[in-house]
Symmetry: D2
Subunit: 369 residues, 4 copies
Amino acid sequence: MAGSSFGKNFRITTWGESHGEALGAVVDGCPAGIKLSEADLQKDLDRRKPGRTEFATPRQEADQVKILSGVFEGYTTGTPISLIIYNNNQRPYDYSEIAQYYRPGHADYTYDQKYGFRDYRGGGRSSGRETAARVGAGAIAKKLLAEFGIEINAYTYSIGNVEINPERFQKEEVSNNPVAMPDPIAAEQAVEFLRKIKDQEDSAGGVVECIVNNVPAGLGEPVFEKLDAMLGRAIFSIGAVKAVEIGSGINASKMTGWEHNDFYRYSEDQILTKESNNAGGILGGISDGFPIKLRAHIKPTPSIHKQQRTVNKAGENINIQVKGRHDPIIVPRAVIVVEAMVALTLADYLLQNTMSNIKLLKRALQAPE
Amino acid sequence: MAGSSFGKNFRITTWGESHGEALGAVVDGCPAGIKLSEADLQKDLDRRKPGRTEFATPRQEADQVKILSGVFEGYTTGTPISLIIYNNNQRPYDYSEIAQYYRPGHADYTYDQKYGFRDYRGGGRSSGRETAARVGAGAIAKKLLAEFGIEINAYTYSIGNVEINPERFQKEEVSNNPVAMPDPIAAEQAVEFLRKIKDQEDSAGGVVECIVNNVPAGLGEPVFEKLDAMLGRAIFSIGAVKAVEIGSGINASKMTGWEHNDFYRYSEDQILTKESNNAGGILGGISDGFPIKLRAHIKPTPSIHKQQRTVNKAGENINIQVKGRHDPIIVPRAVIVVEAMVALTLADYLLQNTMSNIKLLKRALQAPE
Amino acid sequence: MAGSSFGKNFRITTWGESHGEALGAVVDGCPAGIKLSEADLQKDLDRRKPGRTEFATPRQEADQVKILSGVFEGYTTGTPISLIIYNNNQRPYDYSEIAQYYRPGHADYTYDQKYGFRDYRGGGRSSGRETAARVGAGAIAKKLLAEFGIEINAYTYSIGNVEINPERFQKEEVSNNPVAMPDPIAAEQAVEFLRKIKDQEDSAGGVVECIVNNVPAGLGEPVFEKLDAMLGRAIFSIGAVKAVEIGSGINASKMTGWEHNDFYRYSEDQILTKESNNAGGILGGISDGFPIKLRAHIKPTPSIHKQQRTVNKAGENINIQVKGRHDPIIVPRAVIVVEAMVALTLADYLLQNTMSNIKLLKRALQAPE
Amino acid sequence: MAGSSFGKNFRITTWGESHGEALGAVVDGCPAGIKLSEADLQKDLDRRKPGRTEFATPRQEADQVKILSGVFEGYTTGTPISLIIYNNNQRPYDYSEIAQYYRPGHADYTYDQKYGFRDYRGGGRSSGRETAARVGAGAIAKKLLAEFGIEINAYTYSIGNVEINPERFQKEEVSNNPVAMPDPIAAEQAVEFLRKIKDQEDSAGGVVECIVNNVPAGLGEPVFEKLDAMLGRAIFSIGAVKAVEIGSGINASKMTGWEHNDFYRYSEDQILTKESNNAGGILGGISDGFPIKLRAHIKPTPSIHKQQRTVNKAGENINIQVKGRHDPIIVPRAVIVVEAMVALTLADYLLQNTMSNIKLLKRALQAPE
């Protein structure tokens, strides 16, 4: 599984299984001199923590993060930052049954096919629990981005058929309701819908939207490392994502060129503006200085209590009821994971942008221009 | 622009500008011993070639590909395969005007911001012409995949509001109409729609769908290099793509877990089947042996003759009419580019899959198990 | 410091400082299905452990390694293997003095120049203690190589002017004397020499030699990833190495072509042999199936008690006496580090070799040839 | 052969065989805004060109380089620079005989073992001719380094037993004699020695030395990407190199710590100096601002006319006389290849150094500190 790293210059490597002793990440390439503490990471980890609401798995995990290296006297040193999160609650269930069959919608079958066997305890490495390490690393990326004023905000855009109403948008609401919606009325409807789904022993999906403000123009590398291409990869690397939209997204295919093109204008005080932002802040794979906007479509949690059909390793068709603690929806907890993946992508491109042209380079290295 | 490479072990690097002398690709990591000729590449390049239909740019390019290295006596040698396509028709227009302003929907502004200046001839490196090199390289990937029976088929799913009807699906139709649709009736409607758009000096977008058959289970690497994550990156790296869907795509967020989960069943002759394929052939980032299915949403061509608002480098608000030869839609020509990017992604993962477990490895290297 | 990873497909990332809480490594890309326990790693770590002989630093460290992920029921799962070694003895000295000046022969000055400040506790990340993590990871690579019969043996070839005599070569001796020499008489002379050097509050250097047997032909990738090029990088990445030789090494430049070329011969039972091995088992960057042979020239430990001249951060010329616990020679402890780096390099190339040609590939993936 | 790329951010990919139609390189990641012409590259290529002296192969090649992309109106654009060199003289000999046996000292046997067959025309990809592409790419790296005042000078240090005398060192001499020695008297002796070797139908080796001046402190990344580690890889990637020394090199193992440590001193005008440079300008893998010094030990040309023993593919022991045009020594032509590889390594690290700490980064991106 040589797929546990992300980023070229701001590079993270994660490790750990759902029910192993611990999980963690190593961040290599974070510049020296950034103020960083465990509290900076914990804040984001707390937003992902299980057991906080009626729709999150009741598994009890403190998700306390510890920094083991790369920080000295409160500042990053430029050396790898190793962070670790111990699993408190490793083996609450008997997994012997689950080891014998393939849960629909999970990676059980594909891991077995690829590796010859699998760590069946709670999904092992394929569990969503793996994203805790990303959130910790993402918080470090955010600290770097904050030095340049870049701000990332994600929230639940829809759950099932319940969408937020942009006119009621209130950023603070995101942390005030159990569904992470920035619209209190939609949030209430979503809660009602989810209670019904939970009663039916079923689960629901939804859409996360993410807006990034204050991105400087110039981030991204053309052709195969376009900023949108790497954001696409970043978001699709979150387990349950089935579609990603940038800017105008799925509406783009129905618009005409004249409708879709964002016309540039200078404002009266000679600031460059755009009359629209269908590009979602990215043109030719490079940020244009306007807000980046993307959406992640997330499938319903595959673990449901409702009876399902499947097969076992003995070659039989069987019916199963998946036991254990599960979220009826993962969307609200995925919000912070989306933020983390966007932050990791932007941090990597921010670093790389210093090498774009000889003027930037000379400025960085204080050579005479 | 260190973004011109794609793939880890089956790795391509492309180069060249729209109006430079030539463009090309280097494929490094193609295994030795595969039969390969220029004709294998030309076949795919001809599907992308400009000037073939009334909706493709009238620019005249033979797009003749030449292999300069890596093939000996008709077989790949394991060394880098360098392919080159000369531009016949390099400077048909005067670009001095275009150099002075930023075309809406193009990369003019972002390249200037990043690099300090830009090659303004026909978009330079940011031109869709760059994809010719990908198509050549993709044809090599397809030859490798064909050795394992893997087949990739893309086609136009929709143009504007005109969608194909799955009940009328005929694969051969794709090469019979100028819009690459597998449904002759939808194709006619799309042609009619495009003629209208063209008359209005405007342009249209659409959706490309791609199905891959005979993919073995096990391709893909977990976490950040999930097969769907890298397919997402691959497809978003095609200039005009604004959304990507895998399997159930944007419908996933509206379904319940019970509806979305693909139930496994053994057939009477003990073959593993699934009752649905919402996963689109990928679970936990690893192929499950069922068809891979994805969609790319493509924006309308930004180059239109219709008058647009923009700014120039002198800091003025101006109106422009972009001259020159342009496609009123790029979707039909993007179909083969989607195939190429999918092929390149799968080829890379096919190679990597040999390293998944010690049994495969010993089999490859003929060590005693 | 985005330089903490090594390997492309069998890839390790190390982290940790000399006097931090812990140090460790993440191994990503180890195939599933290999038997692995902490004892496999501990065996090699014990060979590097401080405090074992009169010539090793008296720092007390158990160097107990723990595996946190990637192993399930005694076998590797294909997921990242995270290993951790806690530092028991983190702050025995007051480092406030050392923080103010630059120790000659150390990285103090260069880290300050690069990062703006440094973790001055015992050298921080630049300490040789960092190699403990490599040794743990190297032991995993050795387990993989052992499945293919590949054996790596390193030992001290010389200390100061004392060289081993090949006629007295006894492999077992390496673990019988404090200088890791395979020749008991040279070992005694070296011990005597080192006692003298230690009395003078000075330090000594030496040469480590490494032989790898049973390497299959075909490992290595041409041009920039030649097996010897990557071994060269691997060995030079060990802090104190100032020269690397492969095969005939520094003698090559004095030989004629006829003397240097290794003539092939078939033995009577039709086995391919070579009349010499000046190539050191590598031709054109690819292993030829004969033993790989290399040497690492290691500088004397820079930390000495003898008075030295240097400068401080206040801009003054000063005299210093470096206090603390130091090895008068690091060569014997570097032997296992050389083995680890060779193992990591070979493991990576072993995996990659499965992709060399279509026959190997089809064999691995069980496709019809 | 996925080994044809070098560098992480300033990244080159080379392609082409000795007797193919052409060979070339793609340089991806060169910053925009550097003045660059084909003449800049040709100057270095002419120093490597065959047929210039009595000791270089008489093969006639103009080695005319052409830039196909990435340069616009005389300046680099930040997009990939593709360079191509056509082979004029592709098939002067009949290679059918050579195809049947394995030349000692060449890669014939190892390529056959790895790939199943080989391009036997003049060594195919394993030929030293491949280095022409590196020299072209290296010249681009030198242009970048020159913007920062960095200067690379390599020369022949010894041929067989003939060494230069440092007291007679004259830089200009390097281009005045056929052996690229900076000492006219040693050059004469070397010429005499080589004539004798050539008469004996044999060949000779030698040592190339390289000095880099004006390197800023701070280049290099710790642990596995130490500057010396990557220089080691770079130099060992040149086909015939059997040993690499940095700074004190093979002498390091015989010195004591007190002798080897370079003592820092401030000069009267408060400039930091070192009393010696055993480090060769690199400490802890990072440049210290003093000259980088390295040596490459190069084996004698394996192609000799003198009769040799070997085996053929039919399994027979045979005697051969290798026909064709060969250098009796490659050292003088390797000098510029060493310069190229050093330049490529330093260019890559120069770019990466902008990301070391937050101050550099903010300066580059003009953010408020």
